[in-house]
Symmetry: C2
Subunit: 272 residues, 2 copies
């Protein structure tokens, strides 16, 4: 039998297939506005969630996402979904894994390809599109409770969600979690969020990763703030600048109007 003959007789529908979705954990680093017009907001990190407008988990908060469509790559699908549900087009999306345990979706055999993005909180419209009726930023933290357990806290105004995860292993430098308490989030999204956050922390010291989330031109302070928000630390500007100078080129442009000395804009140094 030739390959052509084989393909003529091959029917892909003869085999059981899963459905495939994408979910996007979009983290924002802009921080809350401050009392003083010229003081920067505190370093903080937040996560974009949408309230589900239809079953299952109707009314629950969830990551923006949806089903992969024929002819799309998973990356294209992730960009489409976050745009549809939040109106925002992220600069880039980092894949963080496939979630495929059975029972993760009550509708049946459904895998999720998860992505992470870092975005400014501006540009995301308050209310979502078709299958999500609201999009909101939640202040986000993942705290080590000891004994292998971690608490995932998400809060936005009067809404407060808290999930608990158990760390089952650390493989290839990545924590593997199991949901102890989903905290009211849809599907296994507590697991995806915890995984996303811990991966982001693990790679945030890598400038190659951070640059892909930033605009083309940026100030060194903004870069520093992104790193500080993700890692939850405070860095000395002098040391930070010295560490990063190998990776950036300065431009002639400045960013002013902030009530203090204007900051020079930098671009990522061309790859060696």
């Amino acid at each position: 039998m030739t390959e052509e003959e084989f393909l003529r007789g091959y029917n892909i529908g003869d085999y059981e297939r899963p459905s495939v979705t994408v979910d996007v954990a979009a983290f924002g680093v802009s921080g809350e506005k401050c009392e003083s017009y010229r003081k920067d907001g505190n370093k903080s990190i937040s996560l974009l969630l949408v309230r589900r407008g239809c079953h299952p988990f109707k009314g629950c908060w969830a990551l923006p996402g949806g089903f992969l469509r024929p002819g799309e790559t998973v990356e294209e699908s992730a960009f489409r979904e976050i745009k549809e549900e939040t109106g925002f087009v992220p600069r880039s999306l980092m894949p963080i894994g496939v979630f495929s345990s059975s029972g993760r979706d009550p509708r049946g055999w459904i895998l999720s390809n998860a992505f992470v993005s870092i975005v400014g909180e501006e540009g995301v419209r308050a209310s979502g599109g078709d299958d999500a009726d609201e999009a909101r930023w939640f202040r986000c933290s993942l705290d080590d409770e000891g004994g292998g357990f971690f608490g995932l806290s998400l809060s936005s105004g009067d809404i407060s969600l808290r999930a608990r995860l158990e760390r089952t292993a650390v493989l290839f430098g990545r924590s593997q979690f199991r949901i102890a308490d989903g905290g009211g989030l849809a599907f296994d999204h507590a697991l995806i969020i915890a995984t996303a956050f811990s991966i982001l922390r693990g790679v945030a010291e890598n400038f190659d990763v951070l640059f892909d989330f930033l605009p083309e031109k940026f100030t060194l302070s903004s870069l520093q703030k992104v790193q500080e928000s993700i890692l939850g630390v405070s860095l000395q500007p002098a040391n930070f600048r010295r560490k990063v100078e190998r990776f950036v080129d300065e431009t002639d442009e400045f960013q002013g109007g902030a009530g203090h000395r204007p900051a020079k804009l930098f671009v990522r140094k061309a790859r060696r």
Copy 2:
């Protein structure tokens, strides 16, 4: 409508779904045997391929892999497939991404979840199982040809394959490739292999990753050899030992019988 009512009326078959496969790039670091009985083999890295026993790409060399089955996670599926096709059970499998571009499989809409493993070349049986009729180690290298092109060379005895990839981007520290010439490999496996190899190079300096590929007890030389094989460099034993000592604990056991001073066995230091 309640969620129960929704789920009763929901038919997952109403929507188009892809088929989902797993593919495993298993790299071996043992190197060829040497002329002298007591000299170590040269540092080299090889890749396990199987010759496809059925259509499509019948007779072509391919990564071990196959279709995801209901009730399996993609990780479980990857372990099952490599065991079925090569008889080998790797210590662990690192996920490296989902390949989902349309046209990557002539049978239709089929995604592949790819994994990497590092194994000793012992323990892999020469001939494969059901849907693969032969498994072989190929010497493997990925060379920068300049102009954004890379050559992927695979050779095993009289068989020699050479594929060409074009680097289209570097995102999150990972090279993105496009196949310029598949080199006779099945499907888009040239792309998967190049991606796997370049990711492995990127993370090989991270001991957390290397330990997950090694046996529980190992000599520092073997750890050094793994790193040298992947990175394609030669390291000073003194410096290597100093660098790694924070991450390992020594045991009372030794590995001897090699015609020279026996080496102490080490274990990975317990996580802080």
